[in-house]
């Protein structure tokens, strides 16, 4: 459900307008806002309102982004090396964290006694500001990609296990009982009843895990790494290089956007029967 769908009582263009008209009508307000903001930024730096040394300028950032695309190194590493490190940590960590989260969440959800016993600990774990655990994992795993992946796994796991647990525990007992009365085996009950019923909650947890995966990866790179987009941003900050910082940020945003699209595509495929 988009903000605009809720906010707009009527469409910007009449519903039977040609499709390209509707597209233009939807696209131009954000585009205008973007252009205006970039323009203000550029002009401010040109006229000295904002110091280019601290804030950089869209033109400079654009040049740096373009250069990096072609492979120009930033701090002795090409941007693609850094992107690869961060992307790999996020993908691998997300996968393992999600799998572990779903499996354990399922087991806990289906065994009400075990769930009741462990519930306070799960809640406590969810209450810990997860960023505080990053140095702990760095201490345990050392500096580098291993700690980063471990951080991602932990972050994603916590998010996913909580949602999966709620989803599975919240499946109506009537459904399960009905299936069993009709003679379903345990496996059938699990795969045909419980999992589909819990899927929205599970997907919600998977979706929520995405930002935390990146938070874990980037934070870990900030404090203990020698490569990756987070490391690059930290380096740029230390060298008072706002251009590099913004450029790295843009690459990060694109990476996150790609990842989010993938998760959304999976979600749409899996939850096809739900009206959105």
């Amino acid at each position: 459900m988009t903000l605009t769908a809720r906010a707009a009582v009527g469409q910007a263009a009449p519903r039977n307008a040609p499709r390209h008209r509707i597209l233009i009508a939807r696209v131009w307000p954000p585009l205008l806002v973007g252009v205006v903001l970039l323009g203000i930024w550029q002009l401010s730096t040109a006229f000295g309102l904002l110091s280019p040394a601290t804030f950089s300028a869209p033109s400079q950032v654009g040049v740096r982004i373009w250069g990096a695309l072609g492979g120009a190194p930033m701090y002795d590493k090409s941007i693609w090396e850094n992107v690869a490190v961060t992307a790999q940590a996020v993908c691998v960590g997300y996968f393992f964290g999600a799998v572990a989260g779903v499996v354990i969440g399922y087991v806990l959800g289906r065994a009400p006694f075990v769930a009741a016993v462990f519930q306070p600990y799960i809640r406590a774990l969810a209450a810990v500001p997860k960023i505080a655990l990053v140095p702990l994992l760095v201490l345990v795993f050392g500096i580098g990609v291993q700690a980063e992946t471990a951080n991602v796994v932990l972050m994603v796991f916590i998010m996913v296990v909580f949602s999966t647990f709620s989803g599975v525990a919240g499946v109506r007992a009537d459904f399960v009982n009905l299936a069993r009365i009709m003679g379903a085996r345990k496996v059938t009950v699990a795969t045909r009843i419980v999992i589909p019923a819990a899927l929205p909650a599970i997907m919600s947890g998977l979706r929520a895990g995405v930002p935390f995966a990146f938070i874990g990866a980037i934070t870990s790179e900030f404090i203990a790494s020698s490569s990756g987009l987070g490391w690059l941003m930290q380096r740029a900050t230390a060298q008072y290089d706002p251009t590099g910082l913004f450029a790295a940020l843009v690459y990060l945003v694109v990476l996150v956007w790609l990842f989010v699209q993938v998760i959304h595509a999976i979600e749409r495929r899996v939850l096809r029967w739900q009206r959105r």
Partner: protein
């Protein structure tokens, strides 16, 4: 005897099953701590990296008595972090509510800003943190800015959601009855969006703390977040765990203060029993089912 099979009227009775559950929960906890302690003493896990529960308790006790760790008492560190959190939270929340209101009520602005809001929601806002460090330098200002940014965004999203859910009929009826724009704003719009705003206020607390901690990770030499990091890099696992415990307690305390203030200010609002403390509000996200 308070344990009974079925509750009967008049006295406080706890069903037997619940007691068994509590006993098991307690037992699991004790077992875990025991195993941790033993493994650490026996050398199965290296106590340099994992510490032991007794060490942590002792260190907590010493800290509370005012022992200086790395040159400052724990109370100084707590205050440094809390200071940044409080100022940033108030500033960011106020800004978020104001801007959220303006954007929520303006259809054009909502349409225009939507892609940016959604993108901003998806990226880890902590990646913007180095930018603040660059602009504002190492010091309290940059931490306040990071906290303010986190709080702003959360309150912004919550306020927009609250404003969008206001029933237009209420506004129209008020206008028909001749209410001025100010009356509509103060008597209809504000009270109707309060539940969402209050929910946002509560949600923002842990994120505000996270913002301050992150700011301290990357550019500080004081504060609880710095303490966590420095203990880790000094291979002081006990200090690390101690700092984490205190951080959790601080977050809990601040969250309690906020939620009790909210309840005190608006006792007629329904109280959220279960709320996910970890995820930021997403438009259309109804949150998880209540955990049994």
């Amino acid at each position: 005897m308070i344990v009974s099979r079925t509750p009967s009227r008049g006295r406080l009775l706890i069903p037997r099953r619940q007691v068994i559950v509590w006993a098991c929960t307690f037992g699991v906890g004790v077992l875990f701590l025991f195993a941790w302690e033993l493994a650490s003493r026996a050398g199965t896990i290296d106590s340099v990296f994992y510490s032991k529960p007794t060490d942590i308790v002792v260190r907590l006790w010493q800290d509370m008595l005012g022992a200086e760790v790395y040159g400052r008492t724990i109370y100084e560190q707590i205050w440094i972090t809390t200071d940044a959190v409080l100022i940033g939270y108030v500033a960011g929340a106020a800004g978020g509510v104001l801007v959220g209101f303006a954007v929520g009520r303006s259809k054009w602005l909502s349409r225009a800003l939507e892609p940016y809001i959604l993108t901003f929601y998806a990226i880890p806002k902590i990646s913007i943190a180095p930018l603040f460090i660059l602009i504002l330098g190492i010091g309290l200002e940059s931490k306040i800015a990071i906290v303010a940014m986190e709080s702003f965004f959360i309150l912004f999203m919550s306020t927009i959601r609250g404003v969008l859910e206001i029933d237009e009929q209420l506004v129209q009826i008020a206008r028909i009855m001749g209410a001025s724009r100010r009356t509509v704003l103060g008597r209809i719009l504000l009270p109707a969006s309060l539940p969402a705003i209050f929910s946002g206020l509560q949600l923002a607390v842990p994120f505000a703390v996270i913002g301050a901690v992150l700011g301290e990770y990357i550019a500080s030499n004081r504060g609880l977040g710095w303490l966590v990091l420095y203990s880790g890099s000094s291979l002081d696992a006990t200090g690390l765990f101690t700092a984490i415990v205190i951080l959790v307690a601080l977050t809990w305390l601040l969250a309690q203060i906020v939620s009790r203030s909210v309840v005190a200010m608006a006792p007629w609002l329904p109280r959220n029993q279960e709320r996910r403390n970890d995820s930021e509000p997403q438009v259309g996200d109804r949150g998880p089912e209540v955990v049994r």
